[in-house]
Amino acid sequence: MKEKLTEEAVAMRAAKELQPGDYCNLGIGMPQLCALYVPQGVHLQTQNGALDFGPLITQENVKQIDPDLIDAGGSFYTRAPGMSFFDVLTSFAMIRSGRMSTILGGLQVSERGDLAIHSTSEADAYPQIGGAMDLAWGAKKVIVAMAHTTRDGKPKIVKELTMPVSAQRCVDVVVTDIAVIEVTPAGLLLKELAPGWTPEEVQSQTGAQLIVTDDVKTVEL
């Protein structure tokens, strides 16, 4: 069994998709790890109404806790110079303005860049959409960070979604634990491989055809 990138490494690579000056919303769960690795000068937003907030509260800085400062996932964060607070209506206006990028998790991505993120099946009892559909529709750049396959080894990058669609033709790039893949009008372009992986091996774990060129690089963190 070949070594895959750790969650931290996927988060580091996904964070490199952002440029200083970019505004970005990180999805709940794994994408939140990216906060540790985004380039300096990236402005992070949280859906419940803050921009440019400071580092999260951890064991090390727990004394700085302020019970009125929580992010959308419920974690406490600190203040930082230049931060702003706003209501949730304004927050989603930002999200749908095309000014903000996003790093989201994903259940499935199709070869056209359709994203399934809110539900594994039509039979799901509860809506757990949150802001994911707004982000997927409205973001300037949609970066999906996820495992390349499910825990039982099924491809999550597929020709057609089998799970309920959250937004169509929205994904720009997928960063997984074995590859970086760009969604292009021609199809899924294999850009980078995890160290030790070949294009054939990545293709064998992918449910859609990959475009492979001589430009394929090794993931650098």
Binding site: E7, I28, G29, T46, Q47, N48, G49, A50, I57, T58, Q59, V62, K63, I65, D66, P67, D68, L69, I70, D71, A72, G74, F76, F85, F86, D87, V88, L89, S91, F92, I95, R96, S119, E122, A125, Y126, P127, Q128, I129, G130, G131, A132, M133, D134, W137, G138, P164, V165, S166, A167, Q168
Partner: protein, 265 residues
């Protein structure tokens, strides 16, 4: 002039069976936990609840005054919310907390996206008849709704939300109902205040007119009908905050961090 300042019981007195209620519910900040408990006590039934998140909270957090919407379950007929349930919420120890009622048809759940949810409240506040939104096209969101093409783009018609009652939280109110928020406690509270026919706010502190800087007021008093100061002895009060924060940092967060490290990550 009658005072807007009253107790929670007085504020809730004419909240009736079948009412529609909007509440900011997003974790520890800005969720009006004291008013939610008063609504449970009031025991009105067949409510329609509009809320940001409807998530079960573990009991050890509830004891610390963590605001809860789930005790309302027996009083609800319908939930309209972008996020319902506990998937990924390992701490709650439950994943199917509504299943029975939903299956038996006693509780209806309406899905929405968070941005659409906020804009529906906004439309209600603005007196609009609805709006056309592109989010959720060809997904479950468009089911049963009118679609329309405007300038070659497809949209879904979304209706306004105009709740009978809005339950909100702010940091401070003056006696006219002008509100100042703090940090993430702003949330959707200002929008719910504008959208609701009757707005009830819980605050840590009530001050005299003139004591709030008008430049800092986010919600003008016209949108606030009743003001409830959280009593000092209550777990959610400003007075007990230092004690709660101490327990949070010394007992609860270390536990949360330990569990999330040992969990699926």
């Amino acid at each position: 002039m009658t005072s807007k300042v009253c107790t929670a019981a007085e504020a809730m007195a004419d909240v009736h069976d079948g009412a529609s209620i909007a509440v900011h519910s997003w974790g520890a900040a800005g969720t009006p936990g004291y008013l939610l408990r008063a609504l449970v006590q009031r025991a009105v039934k067949d409510l329609t609840l509009y809320c940001n998140n409807f998530i079960p909270v573990p009991e050890f957090l509830a004891e610390l005054g963590m605001p809860l919407v789930t005790p309302l379950i027996p009083q609800l007929k319908k939930i309209v919310s972008p996020f319902v349930g506990g998937r990924g919420l390992a701490l709650s120890g439950t994943t199917d907390f509504l299943g029975d009622q939903v299956k038996r048809g006693q509780l209806e759940i309406e899905a929405t996206t968070h941005g659409v949810f906020m804009e529906r409240l906004h439309a209600g506040a603005m007196g609009l008849g609805g709006f056309y939104s592109p989010v959720g096209l060809n997904t479950i969101i468009e089911r049963g709704k009118e679609k329309r093409v405007i300038d070659d783009k497809e949209y879904i018609f979304e209706k306004p939300i105009r709740p009978d009652v809005g339950l909100i939280k702010a940091d401070k109110a003056d006696k006219l109902g002008n509100l100042i928020y703090r940090g993430s406690s702003r949330g959707s509270n200002p929008i719910i205040a504008m959208a609701s026919k009757l707005t009830i706010v819980e605050v840590f502190e009530v001050v005299e007119p003139g004591e709030l800087d008008p430049e800092m007021v986010v919600t003008p008093g016209i949108y606030v009908d009743r003001i409830v100061r959280i009593p000092d002895e209550d777990v959610a009060s400003g007075k007990r905050r230092p004690e709660i924060v101490k327990r949070l940092t010394e007992e609860i967060l270390p536990l949360v961090w330990a569990i999330s490290k040992g969990g699926q990550g």
